[in-house]
Symmetry: C2
Subunit: 336 residues, 2 copies
């Protein structure tokens, strides 16, 4: 066979490339660099090795390597309260001049006084009031712009932008899974339209791989252009039982690996681990009051009680944040 | 630089591979072989060339190349009535021995007599009765098995399995778009759990890229294993206004190209084409009574009226099935 010159050149270029790859493999850094060596890290690596080994009995074809991640407390922090609530609080303050009635009406009055705990004392009813006042009545495009603007300027009490309060070890885990053919999803109680604004940039998870809670939408013409208006009505709550339901509705395949941090994730972990073949469930246990926060059974936010018991009973992997994570946030300044 | 022998061997293998690729490109067949040359085929090719040209002003990054396809009448046939209704009818016949009351109760009595038109005369109420009797009361896994069994044995009146009543030109179009970096989705009024059973095998569209109508689900333990039970309650109807809403809920990005065949697709086409930048809308017009069916403005199924007017007014691409499609079904026997 005679080859044209450009093919030979291409061949030589590919030889060089292949040599580079060999070199890169020899010196390739640990993909889970921020995870301390130990049982947790080992469990992750062993699971991934098992399901990607084409010769093994636990092999899972790439199309079925679905991994689902809770967001609040699993991919980013959730203290002193859910970041989406911080967004809502800032939004209520911004909108207050147009709503003089809020000065005397709960839960708004307490929020405007800076007393979030009293505002939340109203329970689910208060939460729905807060969410609908801040997440409805605009188009989906307008809402996206509002969230973008907030993320660009708002700061967590620790002084960092919210999108820097994400967990470096979990970013590495997401990349590691994707490098091994997994499709990574967020399955969170958070609002889907809120998370989709930053999920791709923060986690490398595109909007279509984000499952979350949502309000009802209405399609209508506006200035001869169709828009989708966010209505003040809850459509779907992606928490607890809602997580496996959301997975079935939006993904239509049962995950082989799931990652959470609270009782709100228990049903997702149960659903994932009760499928056939190799399965993996991991719980992030917040045990580091110095670098992050320490909370579990009695926490108002991210309560981890039944899920921790079930993790023990069923041998799920539990991250001890303090000992398992070398680094917590991507920027060192994030540590308290 | 000295290279180990295996790298040199790899290089030689890659040269051979590259030569093969050059050869393959030289003799590569038309990716839209079943489309006759003409304005329709040209419009498709020009749009794809435009959005994939990195130097051009209409370039769209691969991540945003979302294309959404209606299913019934767009990817597979829908006459003499929706195939999912054929499934429901067969299912009612199979379940009839356990439901003696159906012999005298509409819409079941008519269905059991083989009179579908009379059964459907009951309108939406009759349809809901039919759907809930056949699509609820079992787990999602059980339903999947039932649909699989039906697809493996049921035959369309034309004598073919339903999954062979798909359109060869549309299969080529799906492949062509995917080869050009598009992510292809089904957005259909059909039941999402029905379509997900065959979408990957029939169209190369994985379950997680299927958006459709759905019933409510319930998570519950059964024999110590969690299951998802299909409840007799409509959750979401993915038709008309529901299509752009479904796109926003499930995909979270506006498509740049949409494909439909009836007024039920109009809002999806409006939503797609009203975004910024290059956009593409295509309507499959059923004009071939010999090889397929001919119907539009007054059809009981797949009514194409307002959407055809808007296509004309806005210059959307309309497939004239009779003249634009060289082949209709993958197997020649499918032609009447």
């Amino acid at each position: 066979m005679r080859l044209p010159l450009q093919v030979l050149n291409l061949g030589l270029a590919l030889i060089a490339l292949a040599a580079g790859n060999v070199l890169a493999q020899q010196i390739s850094p640990d993909p889970l660099l921020s995870w301390n060596d130990g049982a947790t890290k080992q469990a992750i690596v062993e699971f991934v090795a098992k399901v990607t080994d084409e010769e093994g009995t636990d092999f899972v074809p790439p199309a079925e390597r679905i991994a689902t991640f809770d967001n609040d407390g699993t991919l980013w922090a959730e203290q002193p309260f859910y970041f989406q609530l911080a967004f809502a609080v800032d939004r209520i303050k911004a909108l207050a001049p147009q709503h003089p009635e809020w000065q005397t009406r709960e839960p708004f009055a307490s929020i405007l006084k800076g007393d979030i705990d009293s505002a939340l004392a109203g329970g689910d009813h208060a939460l729905v009031e807060i969410v609908t006042a801040t997440h409805a009545g605009m188009t989906t495009t307008e809402f996206e712009q509002i969230v973008k603007g907030w993320l660009a300027t708002a700061k967590h009490p620790k002084g960092l932008p919210y999108t820097e309060m994400i967990y470096q070890p979990m970013l590495e885990l997401l990349n590691y899974l994707r490098a091994n053919g997994f499709k990574t999803y967020i399955v969170s109680g958070g609002g889907v339209e809120f998370m989709r604004v930053f999920s791709e940039k923060a986690y490398g998870i595109p909007p279509e791989q984000v499952v979350g809670s949502m309000g009802k939408l209405q399609f209508e013409p506006r200035d001869n252009q169709p828009v989708l208006v966010k209505l003040p009505e809850v459509d779907f709550v992606d928490d607890k039982d809602g997580k496996p339901i959301g997975i079935q509705k939006f993904i239509g395949r049962r995950p082989i690996a799931s990652f959470g941090n609270s009782d709100g994730d228990l049903q997702m972990l149960q659903w994932t681990t009760s499928g056939d073949g190799a399965r993996f469930a991991l719980i992030v246990h917040h045990t580091d009051p110095q670098r992050e926060w320490a909370y579990d059974r009695n926490s108002r936010i991210g309560r981890l009680d039944k899920a921790l018991d079930e993790a023990t009973a069923k041998g799920w992997t539990v991250v001890d944040m303090k000992t398992d994570w070398k680094t917590i946030f991507p920027t060192e300044d994030a540590t308290p």
